[in-house]
Assembly symmetry: C2
Homo-oligomer: 66 residues x 2
DNA sequence: TCTATATGTAAAGTATTCTTTACTTTTGAT
DNA sequence: ATCAAAAGTAAAGAATACTTTACATATAGA
């Protein structure tokens, strides 16, 4: 899975720390997520999507390997 | 978080085992998911949504406590 | 009623998410 | 060039997702 987090943050002019705070995870979790170090939970995905006002599918993308 | 899995399965006339197979998890995972025993990963949510042809938000729902 | 299929549940184990602390590197502004 | 903010990374630990095996219960049709 990949994601658009970095772009969305840029659009909304937010730092990783900002986003982390809003969503309720650590900054490192956001960083790792952006770097595709792990797959976040559906709750996190829904929160991010809600925050950025976009469907989950516009932010998180399945890959062949998933 | 809650979800619509049971309804979607009914619409598509699928058993828990069918769904599990299609998505690539164990039947018990589907059962537990339906019973809100845990929060699935975003990959699972995306796969389910794709299978049922609906946005993730139409199948998985945030709650106050999330 | 008998039988097959579907669902529910439990427990132990493995894998992965996410946290905390802490340090390094990058980037951008002055 | 310097400094501060932002981003990257690492490692150890806690919490939780997910598997496997196994058995119990429910549901529906012959």
């Amino acid at each position: 899975m990949t994601n658009n987090l970095k772009v969305e943050r840029a659009i909304h002019n937010m730092t990783q720390a900002d986003l982390a705070l809003k969503i309720g995870v650590s900054r490192q979790s956001i960083n790792a997520m952006e770097k595709n170090k792990y797959v976040p939970s559906t709750v996190l995905a829904l929160k991010v999507a809600k925050l950025f006002n976009k469907p989950v599918e516009d932010i998180f993308f399945l890959e062949e390997t998933d």
